[in-house]
């Protein structure tokens, strides 16, 4: 599904009457099958943007089109929207409340028209996709699981609906490095299978490694959007980049030779081997 965002603005009004212009005239588009990262400092409007895309907030101004149709149009089928877009909020694990894992995942299918056999298949698929052994996990209490496991169960609940578009709000915050890597690889596989992924994250290294495109927000505006690699390379010696970029930049400063084209860890090792040994090919 094609997402087109046209001149979108959103203003919050808090109880005291004060207004916050969280988004101002944002335009961008996300193609079917994209893996798009959204970045920007806290408060720049990232969460607001995804709430609008998922139809959970109504724009103050502007439009969001899914395959050319305005999702805020009265005639737009809300049920279709709910089936098409799955949102995993920040810290989704706090929302688990059923007595078994299976029931928790099933909750996401409450409104679906699937038969009970199909529902069970979906639940099994979603949990297995999230790396669980279905028979082992299905009857366990979500509360007895570790934080990382809880998060994967919560995500399985969103996955079970098989949305065409999956949105994650800072899904790897708090995960340890290997947990982070496993999660990103899993999401990449969903993306390989055709699911559009939109992911908010502060983790530059993970975004550089896995996303295809980036949208950079600042104070409610899109300041950059494009191919992930181009954006990282464009920042050059800026400190905003990935850790390998920072290392490359330190080396370049000291050696007077540039380590160009470094974004990821593999790039760094490749560039170093080339410079130190004259080795040309990636392993």
């Amino acid at each position: 599904m094609q997402i087109t965002i046209d001149n979108l603005s959103y203003t919050y009004t808090d109880p005291s009457g004060q207004t916050v212009h969280a988004l101002q005239s944002v335009s961008c588009s996300i193609d079917p099958g994209d893996f798009t990262g959204i970045i920007g400092r806290t408060g720049c409007g990232k969460t607001t943007l995804i709430l609008l895309i998922a139809g959970l907030l109504t724009p103050t101004k502007g439009h969001i089109f899914l395959d050319g149709r305005d999702i805020n149009d009265k005639s737009y089928d809300r049920n279709l929207l709910r089936q098409s877009i799955g949102v995993v909020f920040q810290y989704p694990e706090v929302q688990l409340f059923e007595t078994t894992v299976e029931k928790d995942v099933a909750f996401g299918l409450t409104y679906s028209r699937l038969g009970s056999k199909e529902k069970e298949d979906r639940i099994e698929w979603a949990l297995e996709t999230m790396g669980f052994d279905f028979e082992k996990i299905r009857k366990q209490s979500p509360l007895a699981l570790s934080g990382g496991e809880k998060r994967r169960v919560a995500i399985a609940g969103v996955l079970a609906v098989k949305p065409k578009i999956l949105i994650f709000d800072e899904p790897i915050a708090g995960l340890d490095p290997y947990g982070r890597q496993n999660f990103m690889e899993l999401v990449s596989r969903l993306n390989d299978d055709g699911t559009t992924i939109i992911m908010i994250s502060h983790n530059m290294d993970a975004l550089a490694e896995y996303t295809k495109r980036l949208i950079v927000l600042d104070e409610g505006k899109v300041i950059q959007s494009g191919k992930t690699r181009d954006i990282f390379l464009g920042w050059g010696r800026d400190t905003r980049g990935t850790e390998p970029q920072q290392i490359a930049s330190l080396i370049s400063k000291g050696k007077n030779t540039l380590l160009d084209d470094v974004v990821t860890y593999d790039d760094l090792i490749f560039a170093l081997k080339k410079q130190l040994l004259g080795v040309e090919q990636h392993e």
């Binding site: 806290t42 290997y178 400063k253």
Partner: protein, 274 residues
């Protein structure tokens, strides 16, 4: 030793079948900056929650600045000596105004009313947030929120400050702000205990305690632990990037003098190569 623990074990289900902590010995010196490193679920939070008696000691012994944590009469004294900042910046505030939030802790400890504004102000000054006293915590950035939470802790003038994954939810700027704060407090003589699973945050510590599956699998000088890739592998912790580069270059036939732990050290060593 300001923290002295022996043989600490803890089980959440109380039936002694699964242990969140198993036979941990812990000693931390006054003024030390210690990092507790371990993957998710390795027992880091469980361990430090014993230090200010958020969890009750089930097995073993533990004293903080000479106070026995199992002595219930001393809990409030203990919590004043040993302050703690948590991971989520959004749920540590009790008031919607910064200065009231910081005053709250002081009032709890029955600090005389007239002394409170002064203490609130000096706490805000310590975290570089002077002038934010009338603001709503909600209106602040993540890093600022964590600094306000820290100010609330500092107002009580603790000797020991525990940071439990306080940077996990912050953007890169916020992370730097808070890490900077930890270093500053360490310089000022506080004992700092920082929990993390990011090795990049451990490099500034004097020493590292490595946790895995409820056990302390190693403790020692930061450099020794962070360059021991076998040990880190057992702990399911990724070595610092500088260490990974060192070993990948070694595999390719480039030997750097000594294994670096920071990116600056790495760059320096590479630049010194012919």
């Amino acid at each position: 030793m300001v923290v002295n623990g022996k043989n600490i074990s803890y089980s959440y289900d109380c039936n002694d079948t699964s242990y969140a902590l198993r036979n941990v010995d812990l000693s931390i010196e006054q003024g030390e900056f210690v990092c507790i490193l371990g993957c998710n679920g390795s027992g880091k939070s469980t361990l430090v929650r014993h230090l200010n008696a958020l969890l009750q000691l089930q097995h073993g012994e533990l004293t903080i600045a000479g106070i026995d944590v199992s002595n219930e009469n001393d809990i409030w004294r203990l919590r004043r000596i040993c302050g703690m900042v948590f991971q989520n910046p959004d749920n540590q505030f009790v008031s919607s105004v910064v200065e009231e939030d910081i005053a709250f802790g002081l009032e709890n400890y029955e600090v005389p009313r007239e002394e409170i504004p002064e203490k609130v102000n000096s706490a805000l000054l310590l975290v570089d947030m002077e002038g934010y006293d009338k603001r709503a915590p909600n209106s602040l950035s993540g890093g600022q929120k964590q600094r306000i939470a820290l100010a609330g802790v500092l107002a009580l003038e603790p000797d020991i400050i525990i940071f439990d994954e306080v940077t996990a939810m912050l953007d890169p700027d916020g992370k730097q702000e808070v890490l900077e704060m930890m270093r500053k407090l360490h310089k000022a003589g506080k004992t700092i205990i920082a929990i993390t699973h990011y090795v990049e945050e451990a490099v500034h510590a004097d020493s590292v305690i490595l946790m895995h599956e409820g056990k302390m699998i190693a403790s020692g000088k930061t450099r020794d632990i962070l360059t021991d890739v076998q040990l880190l592998k057992i702990a399911e912790i990724m070595p610092p990037m500088a260490v990974r580069v060192y070993y990948d270059l070694l595999d390719a036939g480039v030997k750097l003098k000594e294994c670096p732990i920071t990116n600056e050290e790495l760059a320096e060593k590479i630049c010194k190569l012919p």
